[in-house]
């Protein structure tokens, strides 16, 4: 009787599913694309980086059939810079995929630019999402080379699942700050103000990293918040404050810096009691471990640290 509209619903649902499937598929698969194309563009002008020698080593082990002659030629190649860069360019030219916490989007995108500039012929693709989401994806076999998490708990999940090679390196820390709509209409000046009658604040749910940090501050200060909403991510909190739905919210310092004039940040001293440490590590599933390590080195090196610092992150350790 009503089969035609029902068919329409079914068709719409099918199309929706298909579209969603294609979207995530391309995201996951993009890591392997372009692996061959940039090989030709290896520039002889680039100096041979220390990681280049490692890369050429892996390249020879991959072509182990040719035996000692290849190994010696590779070793010899490191002495003449032109030949060495050609070798390292060919093997480090692959695209690496970096799974990184959503809060690293701006900084890692910038670091990615530096990486491309420093390693001609190499490319890096990012997948930004909640750290826990990313670990779940990695456990499900998602192909990636580097994982950067927003807290040590999540990285522990990855190391426990034996996804990471070696020990992850802490590269930044982040702390919480109060944000309010521009001009702070509710007059929030301290953490305790959030618990005041009539203030509707939004925080992260305890299940997500920013929420566990919030919980730590609550425990440390003895102030119990009664939020109007416990959001699933720090960006959800920020959005509720930016749109003026909430009087205040608790987000990372970096989110507040990034939001600029759309929010007013109210720093509070107690935030020092809940510092989130960001670790990064090379994944066991990486087919291009040398290039992955080069990216990690860039993040932990002075250039990467400068980018992170400018965004509001503090140095680790």
């Amino acid at each position: 009787m009503t089969s035609s509209p029902r068919l329409l619903i079914a068709a719409l649902a099918a199309v929706g599913l298909l579209a969603a499937g294609c979207g995530s598929g391309s995201e996951a698969g993009s890591g392997s694309t372009g692996a061959s194309t940039p090989a030709a563009s290896a520039s002889p002008a680039a100096p041979a980086p220390s990681s280049g020698a490692v890369t050429s080593g892996t390249a020879t082990s991959a072509t182990a059939t040719s035996g000692t002659t290849t190994a010696t030629s590779a070793a010899a190649a490191t002495t003449s810079s032109g030949a060495a860069t050609a070798t390292s360019g060919a093997s480090a030219s692959g695209t690496i995929t970096v799974f990184a916490a959503a809060s690293l989007k701006a900084t890692f995108t910038a670091i990615g630019e530096t990486y491309r500039a420093e390693n001609p012929g190499a490319d890096v693709v990012f997948a930004f999402a909640g750290s826990s989401d990313l670990v779940t994806q990695l456990q499900g076999g998602a192909p990636a080379d580097v994982f950067a998490s927003a807290d040590t708990n999540t990285m522990t999940k990855a190391t426990d699942a034996d996804l990471v090679t070696g020990a992850p390196v802490d590269f930044a820390t982040n702390t919480l700050t109060i944000v309010t709509p521009p001009g702070n209409p509710a007059g929030i000046t301290s953490f305790a103000d959030l618990a005041r009658e009539g203030v509707s604040e939004v925080i992260c749910a305890p299940a997500v990293p920013c929420g566990s940090a919030t919980k730590k501050v609550e425990d440390a200060t003895g102030v119990t918040l009664t939020p109007v909403s416990e959001e699933q991510s720090v960006t959800d909190v920020l959005n509720k404050v930016e749109t003026g739905e909430a009087d205040a919210g608790l987000v990372y310092v970096t989110d507040a810096t990034n939001a600029g004039a759309k929010v007013t940040a109210v720093p509070f001293a107690e935030s020092a009691g809940a510092v989130n440490t960001y670790p990064i590590g090379v994944l066991r599933s990486s087919a291009n471990a040398a290039a992955a390590q080069a990216f990690v080195d860039l993040v932990t090196g002075p250039q990467g640290q400068a980018v992170l610092e400018a965004a509001g992150f503090a140095a680790a350790g």
Binding site: P5, S132, A207, V208, E230, Q232, T243, G244
Partner: protein, 294 residues
Amino acid sequence: MAGRVRQETATLTTSPSRSSRSPEPARRSRRRSGSLSGLPRWLFVPAAVTAVFILLPLVAMALRVDWGNFGALVTSESSRAALALSLRTALASTVLCVLFGTPMALVLARGSFRGLAVLRSFVLLPLVLPPVVGGIALLYTFGRRGLLGQWLEVLGIRIAFSTTAVVLAQTFVAIPFLVLSLEGALRTAGQRYEAVAATLGARPTTVLRRVTIPLVLPALISGSVLSFARALGEFGATLTFAGSLQGVTRTLPLEIYLQREDDADAAVALSLVLVVVAVVIVVATRTRQAEGAL
């Protein structure tokens, strides 16, 4: 479908006990030829793929359920609060869908004025919009600084972060399902009986109450059940517009999404609960619809 299988096995088991074995093969061959008439045999291959494609993920999920702790996982305080809130809000939004969707379906099916086709497209829009877009739209309508919300705020009514916001989000995404089901039924039912009732002196409201509504009651019921199912599964608009707070705005889909962050077992167990509820609802709708068609 289950009914038919049962019927089939019943005939198979009872037939040998009967003295006459001859009618059975005849009947079976007739059924076989009947099922193939007009349908090429190869069509069953992609159809089977579709069935597997839909069922397999559900089976895969069911296999991952930690059955030993299933009870504990789905009856935790937060899970019960989420399920109760989901059922409450979905019921409320279904009532709203019926109250406001039915007149809309009648206008779309029986009305004739300029812009009807455009109106029809707009009513169907929530069906194709990403739920998060619906949530953003609602936020800028009923939010504290929204088009209507700022006036409601003056009156002391706050919708954001309330259960009301959840009901609004669910109604927004579910109402096209009711309108669509009902409008289709109204069109196929035609207007003969209404015309007769009118010639016998019944006023339009009487015709609507005594003739039209009873005529499309099966479709109205199936449409509301479908709306209920859609409301129960609503996620994106709720998260964007209503927020997430246990017992107030955190419905079952939101709870599942949150649990997934730190307790994957609980997320899977709750997903299964949602699937079971959805299956029960969909089966109920299909049965109703079959009755309606007869």
